[in-house]
């Protein structure tokens, strides 16, 4: 693999041990994947384990050791960088069943990490949706460690980004380079399988969670192949919330970095262009009601209607979702046996506050939080969880066989009703009840 003079100097340690280590990792990755050279990036999104990945217990110490080894003498990053949500908002950690000891430990590991990254100049987004703060551009090379954002930058902006992880994105932010492989190369970005939505599905009337189900149905059928959806209504592309639900599930259920949508995404103005040289030899997969129902059935693991927790915001609750919740909750109260946690970003929280939503929600008894990962933060709770996110559902139910939390998965509307009633009513067209 070719390295230019500057990259070679980094590798030789001229810019310190941290940069050297970062370049060693990037080169190993490049060699392993057959890269010919490095490509310069102009933005990175970081996922440090000591901020977001279980910063307590044995894994907390391991995560800290892993990163300390990497960042030893680093005092700045080569590119602007945003950062993932914190593992949990320590102010509500007790309500999410974390012990005093764990909270104390997290306070130490997480807070010292947060201070460190902010001192490095990291933009303190603490968000899995950093594109609201730092949008990408067509053909811009970036390095992102956040599954939905990888999909978002590649798909919605046409930026170029591999499925980088916490270690690679940090190495990339330190050096300013990534190996030129995969999504960084035009020839790898063409669609490899066509997804057609059957007429029986009324996508225009989809609830938000139906997009999660569609996403799961697609990813279970395309597996490693880049899909192009040939007939999605263009209105889907105009809704951040619909796109969030559509991209979040496929991001974790598949290994895919990109999902073309004809007429919606920049590299798919037509089906032919999205398929490029593959247009002769691709198969078409049909998604209908049966596939959507099947996805719901996979995500819903609860049997009892009783609800203990309603956890919304994987990823963060958007303004549209806030509005849906407000419409239903109005003057009502959250059921006394239910903890209703709404997790958003600082940006949306401020807007929701300006709009008077937070007062209404607090009065109703909801717990509002921001800048944390509710998928992780919710993994300690015991009892039945309702969520509007399949990604969240998988984290809660697939995590540990012995401490499995039964999950109801449905729309924001259904989840809000569950928070008020203390039980799952369902009512979605394709969903579980």
């Amino acid at each position: 693999m070719y390295l230019n003079k500057y990259q070679q100097q980094i590798l030789e340690g001229k810019y310190g041990r941290g940069s050297q280590k970062a370049m060693e990792i990037l080169r190993a990755m490049g060699e392993a994947r057959g890269a010919e050279k490095m490509v310069e990036i102009s933005y990175a999104h970081l996922m440090p384990p000591d901020v977001m990945f279980f910063p307590y217990g044995r894994q907390g110490k391991w995560g800290q050791e892993l990163i300390r080894d990497l960042i030893q003498d680093i005092d700045h990053l080569s590119v602007p960088a945003t950062i993932e949500p914190k593992f949990v908002d320590l102010n509500i950690a007790k309500q999410l069943e974390f012990s005093e000891d764990e909270i104390k430990e997290m306070n130490q590991i997480m807070e010292s990490a947060v201070r460190f990254y902010e001192k490095l100049g990291v933009i303190p987004t603490y968000s899995a949706l950093p594109f609201f703060v730092y949008p990408g551009k067509l053909n811009q090379h970036v390095s992102i460690a956040e599954s939905i954002s990888i999909l978002w930058y590649n798909t919605i902006f046409g930026s170029r980004c591999e499925r980088d992880d916490g270690v690679i994105s940090l190495s990339a932010a330190i050096t300013g380079f990534v190996p030129e492989v995969g999504m960084h190369l035009s020839q790898n970005r063409y669609a490899q399988v066509i997804i057609r939505i059957k007429d029986e599905l009324e996508v225009n009337n989809f609830a938000d969670s139906d997009f999660d189900a569609l996403s799961l149905a697609i990813s279970r059928r395309t597996k490693e192949k880049i899909p192009v959806i040939s007939n999605l209504p263009l209105s889907v592309g105009q809704s951040y919330t619909k796109l969030k639900h559509l991209l979040a599930t496929i991001a974790v259920e598949s290994g895919l970095p990109l999902l073309h949508m004809v007429g919606i995404t920049p590299e798919a103005p037509t089906l032919e262009i999205a398929l490029g040289p593959n247009h002769h030899k691709v198969e078409e997969v049909l998604i209908g009601e049966q596939e959507i129902r099947e996805a719901y059935n996979i995500a819903c693991t609860a049997k009892e209607n009783h609800i203990d927790y309603v956890l919304l915001g994987c990823p963060h609750v958007t303004m549209k979702e806030f509005m849906e919740i407000i419409k239903i909750i109005d003057e009502k109260k959250v059921h006394p046996n239910v903890k209703f946690v709404i997790s958003t970003t600082k940006l949306f929280r401020d807007t929701a506050s300006d709009m008077g939503y937070l007062d209404i929600l607090k009065k109703a008894g909801a717990i509002i939080t921001d800048s944390m990962c509710i998928a992780f933060a919710g993994t300690k709770v015991k009892g039945t969880i309702a969520t509007n996110s399949i990604k969240g559902a998988f984290f809660y139910s697939g995590f540990d066989q012995e401490k499995v939390s039964p999950v109801w998965f449905g729309s924001t509307k259904e989840c809000t009703h569950a928070a008020i009633e203390g039980r799952w009513i369902g009512g979605g067209k394709y969903g579980c009840s």
Binding site: I25, A28, M29, A32, R33, G34, M47, P49, M52, F53, R58, Q59, W62, G63, L66, I144, A145, E146, S147, I150, E162, R163, D164, D165, G166, V167, I168, S169, G182, K223, E224, A251, V252, E253, S254, G255, I298, T301, F394, F395, S397, G398, F399, D400, Q401
Partner: protein, 144 residues
């Protein structure tokens, strides 16, 4: 005995050998596998209940979020990691996990390894050559 050639993530590892565990579905090392036990715990996964520790793990590719590497790293730190990783297609997070945990990993074989290898087969992984040797389960194999 079959010999298959693929691409090795790192050539520096010594030869390792062990029993194959063949998993037909994509694997998530974070959340899909419990790092405390090494068990596959993902709901509706064909490998649910199987244990990856010390196995030559044969799977189509990695999947999951950007935290995959950490999931793999915790498995490794807890001494529950597989002995080697063999996959059809390469996924960056799997490679990153293999690099930071020094796990031999070979991918991109000419044949579909899920069809060629069966669970229980004895596999010898030669990272330097990017080669695997497959000794079928029903043939008694002795090292000497």
């Amino acid at each position: 005995m079959d010999v298959l050639k693929g691409k090795s993530v790192s050539k520096k590892h010594p030869i390792v050998e062990g029993k194959a565990l063949v998993i037909k579905d994509l694997i998530a090392f974070w959340a899909g596998i419990d790092w405390e036990s090494g068990d596959i715990v993902e709901v509706a996964h064909s490998g649910r209940g199987q244990n990856v520790t010390g196995k030559i793990l044969v799977f189509p590719a990695g999947k999951g979020g950007a935290g995959e590497t950490f999931g793999y790293y915790y498995l490794y730190r807890n001494n529950k990691a597989p002995l080697a990783l063999l996959c059809n297609t390469v996924q960056a997070t799997t490679v990153a996990g293999a690099i930071i945990c020094n796990t031999p990993m070979i991918y991109g074989f000419k044949k579909d390894i899920l069809k060629v290898i069966k669970t229980g087969d004895h596999i010898r992984v030669n990272s330097q050559k990017g080669e695997i040797e497959i000794f079928k389960e029903n043939l008694i194999y002795r090292k000497e």
